[in-house]
């Protein structure tokens, strides 16, 4: 390697520029190393210890991991809850926002008003929203069950009945499809008009036009949305903490809302079992990275990039 360095010496000007370049990027490089890389490596190390922040950090090998896989019933319960949420919520929100975008892409008067109205809910977020939905989902007198009642159907007990809590949360999450809608709308408007015209001359109906022109043209955005929603889905936490049936039992009823990150949070900050929580975090990290890489690999079979594959 030494010879490789000798082979091509930098000129004075070049070296000066390189130095300046490094100085300019150093805040970000240092920031990344200190605030991301080191904590990340530390958490990997600490997941093999009984670290509890204040009193101990002894190497215990893989005990956190074996406890997690073989002795903690709540680990599997929380993983199941999170997977349930991801499996249903990601396709539904993707479908929901795409459908909404297609509808809002029509050329009718007053469309700007509709777009604003449908986008508005995604501005609201956080705990206030969850409280609002708790009211909407009240079994007896909540608006949703009252509306279901108009059709002569007795609505479910939503957040009280453990079978219905997760569907309730998934339903609530559809509230914010506006954010995804905006991205789809932008990409829909980028689909060249002449493609539609050409296919129309060839006799393609609206459904064929949608499947063979619209969908392929927006697949890059679909992939982006899919990956970010997947990652976001695995991070679900607040909903189980705030919308639990019993304030003193996060994730209730019957742990049906005990999501993976909620269990991790309780282990880390309520009983200070930080080493265990870090082991959980690394497990989730591996799951998410495997899914993301799989998505990226599979994407070459269905994602279409206009202007070549090098993007």
């Amino acid at each position: 390697m030494a010879s490789a360095v000798k082979k091509r010496r930098m000129g004075l000007q070049e070296r000066k520029e390189a130095r300046q370049g490094f100085i300019f990027v150093s805040p970000w490089v240092i920031g990344f190393l200190v605030f991301t890389a080191v904590p990340l490596l530390f958490s990997l190390y600490a997941s093999f210890t009984n670290y509890d922040i204040t009193s101990r950090q002894d190497w215990i090998g893989t005990r956190n991991y074996t406890n997690m896989f073989f002795h903690d019933p709540l680990f599997w319960k929380s993983l199941h809850n999170t997977l349930y949420y991801v499996v249903f919520s990601v396709p539904l929100t993707t479908l929901g926002s795409l459908l909404l975008a297609v509808m809002l892409n029509q050329k009718i008067p007053g469309m700007k008003v509709f777009r604003t109205v449908f986008y508005l809910p995604s501005i609201l977020s956080g705990v206030a929203l969850y409280i609002l939905w708790q009211m909407l989902l009240t079994p007896g007198s909540g608006l949703i069950n009252v509306m279901i009642g108009w059709f002569g159907v007795d609505g479910p007990a939503w957040l009280v009945d453990p079978v219905w809590t997760k569907p309730a949360i998934i339903l609530m999450k559809l509230w914010s499809v506006g954010g995804g809608m905006l991205l789809y709308l932008a990409s829909l408007q980028n689909v060249p008009e002449q493609l539609y015209e050409a296919s129309e001359i060839d006799g393609a109906g609206p459904i064929r036009r949608f499947w063979h022109i619209t969908v392929p043209m927006i697949t890059p955005v679909l992939l982006f949305e899919l990956i970010t929603h997947l990652i976001g889905g695995f991070q679900i936490f607040q909903e189980g903490y705030v919308m639990s049936n019993d304030m003193n039992a996060p994730g209730s009823p019957v742990n049906s809302l005990l999501f993976f990150n909620l269990h991790m949070f309780l282990k880390a900050f309520k009983v200070y079992d930080m080493g265990y929580a870090m082991a959980m975090a690394w497990f989730l990290f591996v799951v998410v990275i495997v899914l993301t890489v799989a998505n990226m690999l599979l994407s070459k079979y269905w994602v279409h990039y206009e202007g070549g594959d090098n993007r």
Binding site: M1, V29, L33, V38, F42, I53, V160, N248, A249, S252
Partner: protein, 448 residues
């Protein structure tokens, strides 16, 4: 050249990381000798005692009612001597202890903090608060406190905090409803069976919809867990030897009691009715929706402020059978010195003041909290209020249940099984057997 630089940067990072890691490691090694540390700290200030010191006091009392009260107490303390100045820092209830944890880990904690009474031993075990043994040798303040409160601050026979406030649960009941239902308004049911009988008479319906429910264990602050403790004569979930006794017969009986009430009224009716509960004027007891309402002493302040028209009485919690005991449950807060505080001696002086008679009486008077200092709690002015008198009497049967150090999160394993039983998914005995097994398993994991 480039590769060299990249290599050296990553090497430097690794080095930095390992230095950090080893620093963390060595910091955490002095867990065992709290005593020595405390002794060292208290040896220094003999010469420095004339130096003026400012100490930082963290509370979550920021509301317009509580803030002026605690600040008046701090002000009084600051004026009572000229060496120590206490600075009050307020953090919201949801943040304060996480912030403290980070501050202790960083070695820069406040000098005094208000913390949860039931987790004092857990923090002592984790080296988050300061051993008070040396200070107690100088000033023995143990006798000030209700004995069951003192027990909560003990970890391995040594004290780590001073109790500040507590609470106790009693039965608030609507005397007008009692009269209306043909019950004696001056005589509250003594046993749980009698209570359920009275409750049935207090229910009111319009068509098949409830407009008033006499009593449900699923409403307000005395749920199955508390009733189970009352049924088993104040033992609760762990036996005297520390072994879990969750599937004890008394606990199953308590669950059957809760279920019988739910069956009589209908779980769905209970849930729907609960959904209409509000707060303040719309509190279900104040609004007359529920006739019997178990709650902590401070519920009085809500009745005082929003329920002037409610003709209510206060009674002890019922007992399982005649003479088995009216056991109630309490909680509360302690004041303690986080581990690594800069001025533990001055912090101790302030903690003594906070738990002394004058500050405690003032706190009780203004907040209507049950205070930890027995003398203050028995202040004759305070006892003139019948609710306060009842609360102080109730302290005799009030139990506290600090979380066991080796299974602090055991409730997370009991609660889902409790829910499953109440929802009728699993028979009570089976649910509690499962809870018992889960908690035993947790203890086993933590024992390793």
């Amino acid at each position: 050249m480039k590769t060299n630089k990249a290599l050296s940067v990553s090497l430097a990072t690794l080095l930095g990381a390992s230095v950090l890691l080893s620093a963390c490691g060595s910091n955490n090694n002095n867990g065992g000798d709290d005593n020595a540390a405390a002794a060292n700290d208290s040896a220094q200030p003999a010469e420095a005692s004339t130096k003026k010191v400012t100490i930082d006091f963290w509370t979550f009392w920021g509301s317009e009612t509580r803030r002026p009260i605690i600040e008046k107490i701090i002000d009084d303390f600051n004026k009572s001597q000229d060496r120590i100045t206490v600075k009050h820092t307020y953090y919201p209830f949801g943040d304060i202890w996480t912030k403290e944890l980070a501050a202790v880990a960083a070695g820069n904690p406040p000098d005094v903090i208000v913390n949860d009474i039931n987790t004092t031993a857990q923090r002592a075990d984790k080296n988050q608060n300061t051993n008070l043994t040396e200070y107690l040798k100088k000033d023995d303040v143990k006798g000030r406190f209700f004995p069951q409160l003192w027990d909560t601050v003990i970890y391995k026979d040594e004290a780590y905090a001073l109790p500040f406030t507590t609470d106790t649960r009693m039965m608030f009941y609507n005397k007008d409803h009692f009269k209306e239902a043909g019950l004696d308004p001056e005589k509250f049911p003594t046993t749980w069976a009698e209570l359920e009988e009275a409750a049935a008479k207090l229910d009111k319906k319009s068509g098949d919809k409830y407009t008033r429910i006499g009593y449900s264990p699923q409403y307000a602050g005395f749920d199955w867990g508390s009733i189970a403790m009352n049924f088993d004569k104040g033992l609760n979930f762990f036996g005297p030897d520390g072994k879990p006794v969750i599937n004890d017969k008394a606990h199953v009986d308590a669950m059957n009691y809760v279920l019988a009430n739910a069956k009589r009224i209908g779980q769905k009716n209970l849930d729907n009715f609960k959904a209409s509960f509000g707060s303040k004027q719309a509190n279900p007891f104040i609004a007359g929706q529920v006739s019997i309402w178990p709650d902590a002493t401070t519920f009085y302040t809500q009745l005082r402020d929003y329920g002037q028209n409610v003709n209510y009485g206060v009674a002890p919690i019922p007992e399982a059978e005649e003479g088995s005991g009216h056991y109630s449950v309490g909680g509360g807060f302690v004041v303690e010195i986080p581990k690594g505080a800069k001025h533990p001696d001055e912090a101790w002086e302030f903690m003594k003041y906070l738990t002394d008679k004058s500050a405690q009486t003032y706190w009780a008077e203004k907040n209507f909290d049950s205070v930890a200092n027995q003398e203050a709690a028995n202040d004759p002015e305070l006892l003139k209020n019948p609710v306060y008198q009842a609360a102080v009497d109730n302290m005799k049967v009030t139990k506290l249940f600090p979380f066991p150090v080796n299974a602090p999160d055991f409730l997370n394993l009991i609660n889902p099984n409790r829910d499953a039983a109440i929802l009728g998914q699993v028979p009570p005995q089976e649910a509690l057997d499962k809870a018992q097994k889960d908690v035993e398993n947790l203890l086993q994991q933590n024992a390793k």
